[in-house]
Each structure stands twice: as structure tokens, then as C-alpha cells.
């Protein structure tokens, strides 16, 4: 049973790469050469690995976010809106609260980002509990509302003065997270400081560990999973279902909000409108392939990060293959895994149990 859990995503990825390879062949390039190029660029050198891990970082956070919501029986499609709001809040805090020394500023910014995401996630959770509205549609709507609010703020009151592109003022250097170059220098490893991989990757890995312990080794995590598997039984056992639903969504939103830490505090050092290439939606794919398990999410996120970096390389170095092949591979993989239910006679469902209608 344990082996099959891993087998299905791997099979899905194989199908994705296989069919993607056929498409590559159809446009006149060699699939073998293309995939070889892709993976050697992502894993074959230290800089490649750094890029891969940097790309993986936001996906780890959104993957964890979606996974933890699923464990609680909820579908969080709102990670996109949550992370955008959190990123703006982090940028605001990083510049406006710069009177704080770095020792305090960094945790405060991280905390505020998590809180912003958490609140934005808790709202659909509360609406579900109070009004029975399914979180799928609410989170989708909240995405657009968040995008609208932040877009307004960034192009209006918080636009960096004199700036043409929609971005905020830079955050204080005290709020910067150290990059890989600085972190690895004491170990004698020479890396260009332009490499965006930064300490938030370590935070992401820590989040995986913490979430694993939380879900599988604490009472609260147990209650959350119980609510996800069988709300009626959980209620009968005395667990407060409503509280756990809201808390699960809040935790999910907070994790999504941590993307802000990588983006704002580790990379661009400001809020840049449109920075997310759909991390929230890709997080759903990451959670699915990672079987809603923190370590599965970690592995899948790294794979996706590799695909993104490798995809850029393939785009640059081949004539007929563009980086969009990555989306194609990801899409096919998800379809394959989603449809794999018929194989194991067990539904590959995102919800632990079907209890009510999504929309």
C-alpha cells in the first residue's frame, strides 16, 4: 500500500514526460535530448541546483498550504490571493517598520505575512462554517478580490514614487534574507550573489518538518485530519468541527502567505505586481502529486522547480521547444494522476471524503 502511494505520482510524471516527449518530437526536436538538457541544467551543476531549489521554494509553501487544507477536508484554491496579499503586507512591513532592528524586523515581517495569508484563508473557512458555502468557489472569488485590492494599492497609494512599473518601494536592507552566496561562503563555496536562492528555502524545508510533526504527531493535527476524514464521526468524538475547519483554512492561508518571505524578503526586496506565475494553482498540482504529505510536497516541488529552470534552458537552447512545454507536461501529469483512480480502484480524490457539493 505504501509503495502504491508513491507509484501513482511517479507513473503520472512518467506519462507527462512521455506524452510531452511525443509533442517535442512532433515539433521536430529529440525528446531524449530535450529532457536530458532539461534535467542536466536543473540538477547537473551547483548553480542549476540553486535555481531549482529557488523555484521550488514558493511551490513548497503553496503545496503545503493546499495539502494541509485537504487534510482538513477542504479545497483551498485561494492560495494565489493569499500569497499576493501576504507579499504586499510583507513589503509594506519591510519598508514601514524599518525602525525595528533586523533581529526583530525579519520575524515581524514573516509573521505579518503569515497572518495576512491566514486571515484571507480563514474568511472562506468561516463562510463555510457559518453559511455552508463551499470553499472552492469562495476561494476562487477571493483570489480576484485580493488581486484587485493589491493591484489598486500598488498602482496607487503605494506605488514607488517616480516608478513606471507597478511596484512598491524597496524594503529596508535589515529585512533582507541572506542569499545562498552569503550562506555558503563560510563553507568555502563560491557562488554569485545574484543567485536568488535564499534562506527562505531553509524555512520552507523546516515548514515541511514542522507540518509533518503537527499533522501526525500532535493532538491538534490529529483532530484536523479526523475532521477531514469523517466530520460526523469527529463531531461525535467531541471534536469541534467548525473550529478545525476555520483553523485549517487559516493555517493553509498562512503557509501560502509564506511565499512572500521568499519573494519579497529573499529575492525582489519589494512587492512587484504580477510576480506570481500562478504559484497558488501550481500548489494544487504539487499537493496532488505529493499525496498531501509534507515530504511528498517537498519532492514534487523540487521536481517542478527543476522543470521550470530546465524549461528556461530548453527554451533558450532549442529552436522549436519553448518553456511552455513545462505547463504541458504538468497538465498531462495531473490529468494522468487524477484519472488514475480507476486503476487502484481507489479514488484519487483531493477531499478525504465527499461530504458536500463544491459550487
Amino acid at each position: 500500500m505504501k509503495l502504491r502511494v508513491v507509484l501513482i505520482p511517479i507513473a503520472g510524471i512518467a506519462i507527462g514526460l512521455g506524452l510531452g516527449g511525443l509533442i517535442v518530437k512532433a515539433v521536430g526536436e529529440s525528446p531524449v535530448e530535450t529532457w536530458k538538457l532539461l534535467f542536466t541544467s536543473s540538477f547537473g551543476s551547483l548553480t542549476g541546483i540553486c535555481h531549482t531549489l529557488f523555484n521550488a521554494t514558493p511551490l513548497i509553501f503553496t503545496g503545503l498550504a493546499v495539502a494541509v487544507a485537504f487534510r482538513g477536508g477542504l479545497f483551498n484554491i485561494g492560495a494565489e490571493g493569499q500569497l499576493i496579499l501576504a507579499a504586499f503586507v510583507a513589503a509594506w512591513a519591510g519598508s514601514r517598520l524599518s525602525f525595528l532592528p533586523g533581529l526583530f524586523l525579519i520575524p515581524v515581517c514573516i509573521l505579518l505575512a503569515a497572518v495576512a495569508g491566514g486571515v484571507w484563508g480563514a474568511i472562506p473557512g468561516a463562510l463555510k462554517v457559518r453559511f455552508g458555502v463551499h470553499e472552492v468557489i469562495n476561494t476562487i472569488m477571493m483570489n480576484f478580490i485580493a488581486i484587485g485590492i493589491v493591484n489598486y494599492l500598488v498602482t496607487g497609494p503605494f506605488l514607488a514614487p517616480g516608478d513606471q512599473i507597478p511596484e512598491t518601494v524597496p524594503i529596508s536592507p535589515a529585512a533582507h534574507l541572506p542569499r545562498a552566496a552569503r550562506l555558503l561562503a563560510p563553507f568555502g563555496v563560491e557562488l554569485p550573489s545574484s543567485l536568488p536562492l535564499n534562506a527562505s528555502f531553509l524555512i520552507a524545508v523546516a515548514a515541511c518538518v514542522v507540518l509533518y510533526l503537527f499533522l501526525f504527531r500532535t493532538k491538534w493535527g490529529f483532530e484536523l485530519r479526523a475532521v477531514g476524514l469523517n466530520p460526523e464521526a469527529a463531531r461525535a468524538a467531541g471534536i469541534n468541527v467548525a473550529k478545525n475547519v476555520v483553523l485549517a483554512m487559516a493555517l493553509s492561508g498562512a503557509l501560502a502567505g509564506m511565499v512572500a518571505v521568499n519573494e519579497v524578503m529573499g529575492y525582489r526586496y519589494r512587492y512587484y505586481d504580477g510576480f506570481s506565475p500562478g504559484y497558488g494553482f501550481l500548489g494544487i498540482a504539487v499537493a496532488l502529486l505529493g499525496r498531501n504529505h509534507p515530504f511528498g510536497v517537498l519532492c514534487t516541488a523540487i521536481l517542478f522547480g527543476a522543470l521550470v529552470h530546465g524549461g528556461l534552458t530548453v527554451d533558450m537552447l532549442t529552436e522549436r521547444v519553448s518553456r511552455d512545454i513545462v505547463y504541458i507536461v504538468q497538465g498531462i501529469t495531473i490529468v494522468a494522476v487524477a484519472g488514475a483512480a480507476v486503476l487502484g480502484r481507489k479514488r484519487i480524490t483531493m477531499r478525504a471524503r465527499e461530504t458536500d457539493a463544491p459550487l
Partner: protein, 302 residues
């Protein structure tokens, strides 16, 4: 004012077509959040087919076919393989982000857009039709016709009754002799066809080419309109018109008005949320929407 109305109608058209498509699918019980991806595929195929054939009508036809083909995948995953509707929908949206630009590079050598076509479908391109109905693209009229057609189909035919039964209680429907899988599959195909047509309007119904990611969330907006319209054809049309006019109005006001454009753009989503909560009248989705249906299972509880 005339320009405002015309603009609003044009902005509403792709939404209406996609929303009608979504109506069929959702009423049969299959969640379809892939409207966005289906529209994108439709837009791309319409522009490409119109370019190669020189005929925008052919583009529209192929867009409908493409939409149906992609929706077929969604139907396969949801119905035959009993996969999760939401996940399948997201997969299609992700595919739609990648496939059109990839093909654009392969076919045209561009970074995601298609070459301009000679004649768009802004008018009928047929002399006598143009003099009568030349104010709007044929697709606009199609969107208007689609609404009463959808109403008739869903509420006044036996197929429509079966469709609604599948969405409310597929187990009872199956017992009454309805082939739930077949009905749902047809509904999903229809949703793809209409969403594809909606996409076609975006690329060649007014403009002359496809641009990367040109739907820009309209598929989700159509979904919001469907919900705001309480899963009825007439309601969906009104909602789409409302959203279309709001957009046209907001564009008018830019530079002049006090209301930031983003707030007007957010309005449809806020409204839909309010409707779901019951603040603007309760909207109840089809009861069996999104739930697993297995013919072998005896009832809803399993």
C-alpha cells in the same frame, strides 16, 4: 452612450457563451472550472484555423470543435475514471497556459501570439447580412440566441429533464432509466463547445489574433456570472451583461472617475460571494454537483 452599450454588449459576449457552457456542465453535476482553459484553447484554435483557411467562420467552427475535444478529456477523467472534477479542471487550465503558446512557437515562430488574420468576425462578412445585423459580430447574436435555446433545452425537453436529474440525484435518475454517464458526457461536451466559442470571440470576434493568456480570468468571471445568475440561463445572461456593462463603464471612467477601476473589476466576484451567502438571494447549486457517481454504488451514502 451608444458606444457604451455596444461596448458592454461586446464585453459580455464571451462571458455569456462560456457561462452557458458552464450551465450545461454544472447542471448535470460536473463541476467545470476549466472554462478559462477551454476559452483559451478556443481563442487560439479560432485564430489559427482562421489564419490557415483565410475564413473566420472556419475558425469559429474549429474553436467549437477544439473546445469539445478538450472538454472530452475533462469528461473522460470525471466520468469514466471518476477523478476529481476540480483537479481535472485545474489540469486543463494549466495545459491551456502551455499548449497555445507552445504551438504558436512551433507553427508561427512567435512567443505566443498568432499572426493577424485578414478578416475578423467583427461583422458577418456577407453583404446582405451586414446591412441588417452588421452592428455586432455574429458571435454576439449567437450568444443572445444561445440563452433561450439553453433555456428550452434544459427546461422544456426530455434531455433537459434528464440533465437536471443527473445534477440533483444521479442515483434516482439511473434507477429511472437515465444513462447518467452519457448525459453528463454530452453536457460536458456542450460546455466545451460553448466555452470554445466564447474564446473564439475574444480572438477573432473583434480583434484579429490570439495573444498569450488573452482570457485573463474571463473563464472564472463567467463562472461567477453563472453563480450570480443562480445557475439559470436567463440569470447568467443578466449577470454577464451586468459584468460587461460594469467593465465598459469603468473603462469610460478611467482618468475621470473617483472609483478605482480595480474595484469595479472586483465587483462581480464580491456579488457572487454575496449571492452564495444569501445576502442577495440564496443560490443553490445542483445537489449532486461535484459528487462522485458510481453506478455500482447503491445510493448517495455508498
Amino acid at each position: 452612450m451608444d458606444v457604451l452599450i455596444a461596448s458592454g454588449i461586446r464585453l459580455a459576449t464571451p462571458l455569456t457563451l462560456a457561462a452557458i457552457g458552464g450551465l450545461f456542465s454544472e447542471r448535470s453535476g460536473i463541476v467545470n472550472i476549466a472554462l478559462e482553459g477551454l476559452m483559451l484553447f478556443g481563442a487560439f484554435v479560432a485564430a489559427t484555423a482562421a489564419y490557415y483557411s483565410g475564413n473566420p467562420w472556419f475558425g469559429v467552427l474549429m474553436a467549437a470543435v477544439a473546445g469539445g475535444a478538450i472538454a472530452h478529456i475533462h469528461g473522460l477523467v470525471c466520468i469514466k475514471f471518476k477523478g476529481d472534477h476540480i483537479v481535472s479542471g485545474i489540469a486543463i487550465n494549466i495545459l491551456a497556459l502551455g499548449a497555445p503558446p507552445f504551438l504558436a512557437l512551433a507553427l508561427f515562430g512567435t512567443t505566443g501570439s498568432t499572426p493577424e488574420i485578414g478578416r475578423s468576425l467583427r461583422t458577418w462578412n456577407v453583404a446582405w447580412l451586414d446591412s441588417l445585423l452588421g452592428a455586432y459580430s455574429p458571435l454576439v447574436y449567437l450568444s443572445w440566441v444561445a440563452v433561450p435555446l439553453a433555456y428550452l433545452l434544459v427546461y422544456r425537453t426530455r434531455f433537459g429533464l434528464r440533465l437536471r436529474a443527473c445534477g440533483e440525484n444521479p442515483w434516482a435518475a439511473e434507477t429511472a432509466g437515465v444513462n447518467v454517464a452519457a448525459v453528463r458526457y454530452i453536457a460536458v461536451l456542450l460546455s466545451g463547445v460553448f466555452a470554445g466559442l466564447g474564446g473564439a470571440f475574444l480572438s477573432i470576434g473583434y480583434g484579429t489574433s490570439f495573444v498569450r493568456n488573452m482570457t485573463a480570468g474571463r473563464g472564472f468571471l463567467a463562472l461567477a456570472a453563472l453563480i450570480f445568475g443562480k445557475w439559470t440561463p436567463g440569470g447568467a445572461l443578466l449577470a454577464c451583461l451586468l459584468f460587461g456593462f460594469a467593465d465598459a463603464f469603468q473603462m469610460r471612467l478611467q482618468g475621470v472617475g473617483q472609483i478605482p477601476p480595480q474595484f469595479v473589476q472586483m465587483l462581480p466576484y464580491v456579488l457572487s460571494m454575496l449571492v452564495l451567502v444569501g445576502a442577495v438571494g440564496r443560490a443553490r447549486p445542483p445537489a449532486a454537483l461535484g459528487r462522485a457517481y458510481d453506478r455500482e454504488q447503491s445510493s448517495a451514502g455508498g
